[in-house]
């Protein structure tokens, strides 16, 4: 900051607003230059702030991966579990204490490779939680292997000549499994991401936000797509906002168009609502609702 200015100004926000949500003692974080994960954390922090939730009641659960490290940097009750198992951990937590707001924050490999079953089952049950997936189209933490999101022809270390393994269309999978809120944005769309996260955590039930995010170190470099900034510009130029799009239609190709937007927003009773209503029906007064 130019010196002349600082001298004469009051500085009302000398602290980066995200910092109040971070464990600053753990900075710098491990993410690479130009990695988009940190950007998503900014959005998440703003969304949380705007949501006016009591932050003491927010619990973050991550699996394992570069994105999985998010939990460790957030100054919230945060749980860095095992690879793929953030959702069932969060399910246990949410069912055991309905007062908690559960946010699962993890990577595409974690949530949809090893963790795919938990995702579809939690969505089916409509357990009240928000799942944020930072989709960098690759396994970052382990060094750039192909993920079930990697577009065909893109290279990863395990498909070094280009992948021929057709990827999932995540919003479609979420939609067809029963998620009540489904949106996709990229790290370029910081304001949309913020809004989407806010909407998702304010939605009762299983909500899902996918954020396409650059992994310069492993995805872009190997695929000769430049650095993080190049990916961001690709997102900027090739994203098409199509709110309400049929999720069937939003699959992604290698460096093709990215359909973003809020795709699904619907009402469904949560697992706990269904349970309480059903058991009250059956037992009337005798039913002892779970106090916790």
């Amino acid at each position: 900051m130019p010196e002349e200015l600082t001298a004469e100004l009051e500085i009302p926000e000398a602290k980066n607003p995200v910092e109040s949500l971070l464990r600053m003692e753990r900075m710098p974080h491990i993410w690479c230059p130009g990695c988009g994960i940190g950007t998503t954390v900014n959005c998440f922090a703003r969304a949380l702030e705007q949501s006016k939730l009591d932050l003491d009641n927010v619990a973050i659960v991550s699996g394992i991966g570069c994105t999985g490290r998010v939990a460790g940097y957030l100054h919230l009750d945060s749980f860095h579990t095992t690879h793929g198992r953030a959702i069932p951990f969060a399910t246990g937590m949410k069912l055991a204490n309905p007062e908690l707001k559960l946010v699962v924050y993890s990577g595409d490999g974690d949530l949809f490779a090893i963790g795919g079953n938990h995702f579809i089952h939690a969505a089916r049950r409509n357990v009240d939680m928000t799942v944020i997936c930072v989709n960098n189209l690759i396994y970052g933490m382990t060094g750039g292997q192909v993920a079930p999101t990697t577009p065909v022809t893109a290279k990863g270390t395990t498909y070094p000549y280009g992948s021929y393994d057709p990827p999932f269309n995540l919003p479609y999978l979420a939609d067809s499994s029963g998620a009540v809120y489904v949106a996709r944005w990229t790290t370029y769309h910081v304001r949309h991401v913020t809004k989407a996260i806010k909407e998702a955590i304010n939605t009762r039930g299983f909500s899902f936000v996918e954020i396409i995010s650059p992994c310069p170190t492993l995805y872009s470099r190997r695929n000769k797509l430049g650095d993080g900034l190049d990916q961001m510009n690709y997102y900027k130029e090739n994203s098409e906002i199509r709110n309400g799009a049929d999720t069937k239609e939003v699959g992604m190709d290698f460096q093709g168009k990215i359909i973003v937007g809020k795709f699904v927003e619907r009402e469904r009773k949560t697992y706990r609502q269904l349970m309480n209503e059903h058991l009250t029906n059956v037992f009337g007064d005798q039913f002892t609702p779970y106090e916790g």
Binding site: N57, F79, P88, T91, G92, L95, H121
Partner: protein
């Protein structure tokens, strides 16, 4: 602390071991059970599912055992007591999360109703062949506590004890039942709630600023907090320091691991739970556990009638293994006879601790049924050349 009056089914019941274990869990204050059906353990969760709506608890049938074994840990960090229940194949799938519970010091209970293995094996018949798995089945070094009931009554009693030990030491506690005990129906006396001692979780009294997650303050077991209490904790399965933060350092790893292990091993005498019968002055001592301990009795009685000085010890807590106890005993007796419903597991520990001071004789039964008392009798006679 005593058990919750409303939840405890005080009185005498004629129920099977699975159902008794369910009642034990409820009496111990368990409020969250996640499970996935598998013979011969399912009756535990079936009863839980029937009972919980009336006593205030949540049962959820998860998509698999992996999910169940981590969901309970989420519930624990939400402040509840929780358990899951399974049998061999499901137990194998839970191994990763036993390690997670160990490293995160998450108090929780796993019930494994053992059946014939490996793989699908003999789903409806008993075995005791997951005993070593209970200790060694997850990768890396860690210690757990494993206890083995031999009757429905003990399924009740020891499930309570399991929950209590879990809280006391912040370890996963494994209740290693078997198909025979699980499906056997006998009288189970459930005491009045205020006669049941229940160990409550030791939540810290420190305010958020002062609390450090894995700082034990000189004791071996750190105090807990729960999510939503304002502590803003971080929990990780990575090697971590006192604050709970990842630290990729051999030094931190060493410190963390040693305490995880020591809190169990150095407290072995306190955790120890052994039933002794005429061990004083015995020549031969039978070392048994679980259902096999009952099959031993007719054999021991018969041998005694033959004039053989035979003692019997029953390991109720099998892990941590009562190492010093067996070491001392080995110096006084000539032989150990170890009957197991497997091809030899706990006998390895007995033999090791005997250290050549006493002969160790396995009486192996592959499972699917229990031993005949004669098999055991023959070894008692044979081991010292009485035959």
């Amino acid at each position: 602390m005593n058990a919750d009056k409303k939840a405890v089914l005080t009185g005498a019941h004629f129920i099977d071991g699975d159902h008794a274990a369910c009642e034990g869990a409820i009496a111990a204050g368990c409020k969250f059970v996640a499970g996935y059906p598998i013979t011969p353990s399912t009756e535990v969760v079936e009863r839980i599912a029937a009972r919980f709506p009336l006593v205030g608890g949540i049962f959820v049938q998860m998509e698999d055992e992996i999910a169940s074994s981590i969901a309970i840990q989420g519930a624990v960090w939400a402040g509840k007591k929780a358990m899951t229940v399974t049998s061999g194949p499901g137990f194998s799938l839970m191994m990763e999360h036993i390690g997670f519970a160990a490293i995160t010091e998450t108090p929780c209970v796993f019930i494994n109703v053992q059946r014939g293995g490996p793989s699908t094996g003999l789903p409806t018949l008993p075995a005791q062949a997951d005993m070593m798995q209970a200790r060694w089945g997850s990768h890396g070094d860690y210690e757990i506590i494993a206890i083995v009931p031999n009757s429905p009554q003990e399924c009740f009693d020891l499930t309570i004890r399991a929950f209590n030990l879990a809280e006391e030491y912040r370890v996963p506690v494994l209740v290693m039942m078997d198909e025979c005990v699980g499906h056997m129906t006998e009288k189970v006396e459930i005491p009045e709630a205020d006669k049941i001692e229940v160990v409550e979780r030791k939540f810290t009294e420190k305010p958020p600023g002062e609390y450090r997650m894995f700082d034990t303050n000189g004791s071996m077991v750190p105090e807990m907090v729960k999510a939503g209490a304002g502590y803003r904790i971080h929990l990780t399965g990575l090697t971590h320091d006192d604050r709970g933060y990842p630290a990729m350092s051999p030094v931190v790893h060493n410190k963390m691991l040693r305490r995880l292990v020591d809190k169990v091993l150095l407290n072995e005498e306190k955790i120890r739970h052994i039933e002794e019968d005429q061990v004083e002055g015995a020549d031969v001592v039978v070392v048994s556990y679980g259902i096999t301990s009952r099959v031993v009795l007719p054999a021991v009685n018969k041998a005694r009638k033959d004039g053989i000085k035979v003692g019997h010890i029953r390991l109720i807590t099998v892990w941590p293994f009562p190492e010093s106890y067996i070491r001392e005993l080995a110096k006084k007796v000539s032989a150990f006879v170890v009957p197991e419903l497997n091809l030899g597991q706990i006998v390895y520990e007995v033999e090791r601790c005997a250290a050549g001071n006493a002969v160790t004789q396995l009486v192996s039964h592959a499972g699917g049924a229990v031993h005949s008392p004669e098999e055991i009798y023959d070894e008692i006679k044979g081991v010292l050349g009485h035959a």
